[in-house]
Structures are given as C-alpha cells and as structure tokens.
Symmetry: C2
Subunit: 328 residues, 2 copies
C-alpha cells in the first residue's frame, strides 16, 4: 500500500493556496493559482480540481493515495454540510463547496472557515506546538481569530465563533468598525487601526520619527508606527502602548473564560516580534487571573501563509477519522 497523502486548500480573494501534505502534517509540495472570481466564482472549484489533478500527475501520485481534501474559505460556513452561506469577496452565496468538490474529485472533502483552519494549522505544526487549548489572533488588515478547545474548533451556534476582532474595546468614543459598531478591537489592534492611531497621534503632536515619515509620504503605516516605537520614539511608543493595552485586556478576558494553554499571534503586525509580545504580555498579566497570567504562553505564529493549507489537511484527516468512528 502506498502511503496516503492529504490535500490542503486555502481559498483567498486573490489566490488559492494548495498543498500535498503527509500524514504527519509536513508539506510535500505546495503551489498556488489565481482565484477566478468572475461569474459568481463558478470557476473556482473546477480550477482547483484541474490544478490538483495536474500536480498529482506531475508528482506521480495516484489519486487513490489522496485520503481526504480539506478546504478553508472565507465567510460564513455551514461546516456540517460544507456549504458557504456567503463569501462576499468570492461571489459565493449558498454555495455547496463540499458537494461540488466531491463530485469532481471523488475524494471526501471537508470545509471550514479559513481563520479557523489557520488556527488549527498553528496548533498542529506551528506555535501551538500541539496545545489542544488555543486562542489564535491574526493581526492583519483586520483582526481575525480562532478558538480551539479540547482539540476541537469552536464554531458556536451560527459558525460565528472566533470573531475576536469585534470584541468591544474602546467602550466610549471608539472609531467606527466595518461591522457597524464602534470601538471594536479591530479598530485599535489591526494594521489599519495602528496606522490610524499613529496618524491621529502625530497630527496632535507633530514631532519625532512619525512626523518625519508623514512629511515624506503624507501617510503613516502600521510598520512606521512599530518601527518608530522600537527606535524609542515617544509617539510611536504611546500608540503601541494603546494597542497592547486593548489587545492584552481582550486576550486576558478571553483567557479568564477559556483557559487556553497558548495564545498565538499571527498576521503582518506580529512581525514586530518579541518587542510586541513583551508589551502585550505585560498588559495581559495585569488583567488575567494570577494562575492564568502565570501559565498562559503568548507566542508569535510560525507557519506564515502555510498555516491555512496545513490546517485544512488536519481538518480532512480528523473529520474522516471521526466519520469512520461514527459509522462503526
């Protein structure tokens, strides 16, 4: 018998990331294709199937070696049936992703939210380091998240669990958020939020490194703010302190309720590394129950863009196993 492999797929608005992954979670080969969003995204799945089949042939792997396919997609998902309720930036609405994939590939397919699968990827092979109680936060353009408890992804009643970015952080006078509320964590802890806070701060006190950046480019990025803070710039530091306060408080309160072993911080902002984690940990420890403050590890994500496909492979592997157990 040939060794089985897992297929992991991570569908994004620009590209679809794909990988063949061994049963231990190691990437055998990975590649990506552009996401064809034309015609309400009806070419996306056929494109994926064609590409997977070509890559199997190229790698001289027989289709019968593929144990399962895991797919991460953005938006609201009925994970039970592998249905996408709505993925605005792909054009999908009530789309039977699992069904179409299984029809075209003939391999058991399982679907979950992309942020959840990135969390699971970090649990399996990344910064989670096997921890089965995990909170993952992705600090990118927005703030996303995933919660894993007892090794299981927490979906909640309507698949909306993990929306850490919409925790109410600035209770009075917060900035408007895309969700319709004001003062969400996303408005102060995303790259966009940090850049906005930086611009506000330097407009109020036009001095230091950020003033220089602003004069050069007429804009301020999150990177500018983080770099300035690292270089000891007062305005940069005050913005990072605000960021760390709100994120540290939110994560402490989540940990007081969920008692994770590890909190994994990913996304572009996390590239600021230990500088950020140190600030964050100090705020976290102020608000977490003493025992939890002591025992919860805060770590930077290690898998980068591979987290999604690795998590998708995990989903395929474990869901199939569960299904087989239920049939017995």
């Amino acid at each position: 018998m040939t060794e089985k492999i897992l297929v992991g797929i991570d569908i994004g608005g620009t590209t679809v990331k794909q990988a063949f992954i061994d049963m231990g979670g190691n990437i055998i080969t990975k590649w990506e294709i552009p996401t064809d969003k034309s015609d309400s995204g009806k070419n996306i799945v056929p494109d994926i199937v064609k590409s997977v089949q070509e890559k199997l042939e190229e790698s001289q792997i027989h289709k019968s070696s593929v144990l399962s396919i895991g797919v991460g997609a953005p938006g609201f998902i009925d994970v039970e049936n592998g249905m996408i309720f709505e993925a605005v930036n792909l054009g999908w609405k009530n789309f039977g992703l699992k069904k179409q994939m299984e029809e075209l590939m003939g391999v058991p397919t399982f679907v979950d939210n992309d942020a959840n699968l990135a969390s699971v990827g970090e649990m399996w092979k990344g910064a989670g380091n096997g921890a089965t109680n995990l909170v993952c936060v992705t600090l990118g353009t927005g703030v996303g998240g995933g919660v894993i408890a007892g090794g299981e992804i927490i979906h909640g009643q309507n698949g909306m669990a993990g929306e850490i970015g919409h925790i109410a952080s600035v209770v009075e006078g917060g900035a408007p958020c895309n969700c319709g509320k004001k003062g969400c964590l996303e408005t102060v802890a995303s790259a966009t939020g940090i850049a906005r806070l930086g611009l506000e701060a330097v407009t109020q006190s036009p001095e230091g490194l950020l003033k220089k950046k602003l004069d050069e480019r007429e804009s301020i990025s999150a990177r500018d703010v983080l770099d300035a803070a690292k270089a000891g710039d007062d305005i940069g530091i005050s913005v990072v302190d605000t960021f760390a306060h709100h994120l540290g408080l939110a994560l402490a309160n989540l940990s007081n309720t969920l008692n994770p072993e590890t909190i994994v911080i990913g996304g572009g902002v996390s590239k600021a590394g230990t500088f950020l984690v140190d600030k964050l940990e100090a705020e976290f420890k102020k608000y977490a129950i003493p025992k939890i403050a002591k025992e919860t590890a805060i770590r930077i994500a290690t898998l980068g863009n591979d987290a999604g496909v690795i998590g998708a492979a995990w989903l395929g592997k474990t869901s199939l196993k569960k299904m087989e157990n239920e049939v017995q």
Copy 2:
C-alpha cells in the same frame, strides 16, 4: 430488565444535594445531607455512599439499576481522573474522589466542577432548552460560570475555564477582588458587588429608598438595591445600570468570541427577573456584533438548586457512553 437510573450528587460547603434521576433527566427523588468537613473532609464520601444506599433500599431500587454516578464539587478538578486538586471549603487537597466513590459503590463515577454541572443541568432540562452552545453565569455571593460549546463543557488547560467572574470589568480604579486583582466582574455583578455599589452610591447621595433602608438597618443588600430600582428610585436605578453595563459588555464580548445560542443567568441576583434581563439585553445589544445581538437569547435559569444534581446525572450518563464508544 429494570429501567436504569442515574445518581446525581452536588457537594457544597454546607450540604450535599443528591438525587435519583431517570434517563430523560427527570428527578425521581431528591434529598440532602449535611457536609461533614471535619478531619479534612474524610467522611464526606462515606456519608454520601451510606445515604445513597439507604435511599436505594427505601425506594426499593436494586443497586444494579444504577447506571452511573455524577458528582459536582467546588474547586480545581482534574476531570480526567476525578481528582480534586484543592477544594478549600471542604478541606480536600489532591483527593481521589472518583476512586473512593467507585471503590465504595462499585458504580462508574464521573466528577466535574459544580458550576460546570449546573450549566449542563440548565442545558439539559432548564433554560438552555437543549441549546448545545451555552454560556451560564451565576450571580450569587460571587460570580461563577460555565461555558458549553458543541454540547461539551469547556475545561481549558487546567480546568480553570468558565471563570467569568474574573473578567476585568472596571479597568481603572476597580474594587479589590478575592482573586488578587481589582475591578473583576464579580466586584460589580455579584450580590456582594451590587450591595457595595449601593452603599457607595447612597453614601455619596444620601436620599431616596436606599437612604431609608440604610437608616433602618445600617446596611444595604443587593435585594434592597434591586427592589429600589424596580420601584423607580434614582440611586437604585443608577447602580443597576452600572451592573447591567459591565455584565452586558462582558457577555457581549464572550458572545462575539463564542457565539452561544443562549446565555443563562442564574443565582440569587437573577430572581430580579425580566426587569434585570431587559436592562442587561439593552447593554448586551450595544456591544455584540449585530447578527449575534439579534440571535442570542438571554434567559433566567429555571432549575434553581436542582441544576447541579441534574447536570451531574448528565455527566454520568454521557461520560459512560463516551467511554463505551472509545472501548469499541
């Protein structure tokens, strides 16, 4: 074959509540015995076993009809092994509760935290109404809680999950909490917290119904504050508004992360009923993601003191079933 029954036990600092419960979760008979805390609590389990055996005889139920025993206990618990790490008010430390109960009764026994089992009780037969994604909050002397996701109790890494009372609520200048922090939810949302807020408010503005109460009794209870608020007293209303703001915000943020179907509010304070729920819902809706604000139900617990034994019976029933599935 006689119908099987479940034994549910809820060990508290003053009494041990016990019940025989049918497979559908209905109480057949219930009774309680005093908790003998002498000699580091070494008589507690033998007392329970004696009492259960007497009640079986009295009810003419043969011991072989007892399917399983579920036990709720306070403190930190290793649920896997049914070990109590520490239950200060029972005198137990590293106590093998499951082991002793199984040795004395010869019936499979399962142990969990009492607050978790009360939550499960409400899920099975109470206000949870079968919802498998549930957050329960108990507003008593302190604030306790339980989180259920996908029908499973969330324990976290060290069994500390569900410590909702220690969410940081008053971020600046909060009152000291038993846990060593300041401004925990418990300091503003427990009966003790409401009474303290009431006393502070009426000391600052000595007028209205609460001033009258204070003159009569030289103290203010949570009940006084809630009654005054219901009667339209301004100071009472301002305290209830503070309470509702902090609890509503905390529950909204939990719901933004966990997406429960139902939030169940129990404990003495919850007896204020719809008056309280209305205020709480208004604050909850301010801070929850719009879809979650719309779809999450907030309900008052319905089982009262029976929640613990019913939840314990559920634990015994479902844990045994899981064990059998694993053996197969």
